[in-house]
């Protein structure tokens, strides 16, 4: 079981991802913007963060850069979520320090597998 933070301004996606990860036995914290994500990350650092790239105010990319800049969160696994029409964001996401990405539309099962794969990689 791992602690996962989800930051997405889309309530449907947030609920869906949280539901799937809870089903998979993870502990989930869901927030709706980048600022709230940073607050949650500092209060109780998770084992993995799932960040939507496009969020109002502070984007997922900005959050990722902040995480990588701070020594205590520099190695935290981050998976970015982006829409198919914004695939150009993937390259920028990796440059910002993301470990993996998921493109919408996505399969909840695939998302769960990717989360587990990244967590396993980190454990090793």
């Amino acid at each position: 079981m791992a602690r996962v933070l989800i930051a997405d301004d889309d309530a449907d996606i947030r609920d869906l991802v949280a539901f799937k990860l809870l089903q998979s036995g993870h502990e989930v914290t869901a927030v709706e913007d980048g600022m709230a994500a940073l607050r949650a990350l500092r209060e109780q650092p998770p084992d993995l963060a799932l960040l939507d790239i496009r969020m109002p105010g502070m984007s997922g990319l900005d959050v990722c850069r902040e995480l990588r800049a701070a020594p205590e969160t520099a190695t935290l696994p981050v998976i970015m979520i982006t829409a198919r029409s914004q695939e150009g964001d993937v390259e920028v996401g990796f440059a910002a320090g993301a470990d993996d990405y998921i493109i919408k539309p996505f399969s909840p099962r695939e998302l769960s597998s990717r989360v587990n794969a990244v967590l396993n990689r980190v454990e090793r």
């Binding site: 889309d10 449907d12 996606i13 609920d15 869906l16 539901f19 799937k20 089903q23 919408k104 539309p105 996505f106 399969s107 909840p108 099962r109 695939e110």
Partner: protein
Amino acid sequence: MIAPEVVTGAFVCLMAVFVALCVLIAGIRGARGYRNRRRERIAAPVRPLLLELLCADEAEQGWPLLRLAEMDRRTWKALEPTLAEMLGKVSGTARSGLVRLYELRGATENAVCELGSLRANRRGRAAQVLGRLGHRPAVPELCRLLADHDPEVRLSAARALGRVGDARAVPYLLESLRGSRAVPPGTVTRALTLLGPEALRGIAAGLEHSEPLARAVSIEVLGATGAVSRTTEIARALRDDPHTEVRIKAARALGRLGMPDGLEPLMEAVRPGHPVGLRIVAAGALGSLGALAATGPLGRLLGDPDPHVAATAARALLRLGLAGEDTLRAAADDPAGGPAAAHARAALAEASVGSRLDVRVEVAL
């Protein structure tokens, strides 16, 4: 001179209108917020079931599927917008579960019926839902809606046809580009691009269309989808089409496709005597093609009287690798080089500072 009472009266009237508008906007927002909250409240009890359906394996979808299909009309109405949104957000078994739910509920058939509704917003919404469902039986009806009197419905129909991905829609989409009820070319291009390989034959047939815009859109789609087998037809359009816009699209497509067959027609298109817009795009396309044989013709263009053609040729030479850079250096070092030397030096300077200027010049139709 205007009387003070008139000024005061006008000011009071303006203020009254302003206040009335504010109240109206606040009222509309409040009503919308109330409606959304009410919808969320009604849908809340079945939302966990929906999440269960979306997260379940195919074999486990039966129970949540049946429970959701049995919900009362009021709850369905509240949940349906979320379902329609979700169709565009999930894939795999989650999406197929949603499609089955629409079918079990009879909502797919309802949407097909709604395509004939007298209300434009209903026709548009039905087209949107059927597109997201990928409902192929609705294709003939959606094609008919491409000529709808309401522009929003026409847009929804074109987008839906792209999502459904049925090649039968190609001639209708191309035809929808003309007339007083035309669909915007960008929407048609996107829809045709989504149709997939089975539509390529029909799109290539669009090169013979009597409408220049339809030919241009067909060429753009063939270039964007990497239809290398159609290079010969596109090269013919570049040489022979009577419309410059079509030839420009053909030049750009040949650059994108990157096939050797494109070289000769592009080298012909950059020669003086052709329209400047075409020569610029063709010069950029020669850079994209990356053929060393283009080095000489591009080098000669450095001294072209048109500065845009010359600058594009210089940047295109950079994309040809060492041979292109050598040509640029030779031109830059020529003491009597004039504007050609200046263009060469500018391109080399851009390259040395690592700027990646795109040589493709977007000439919109």
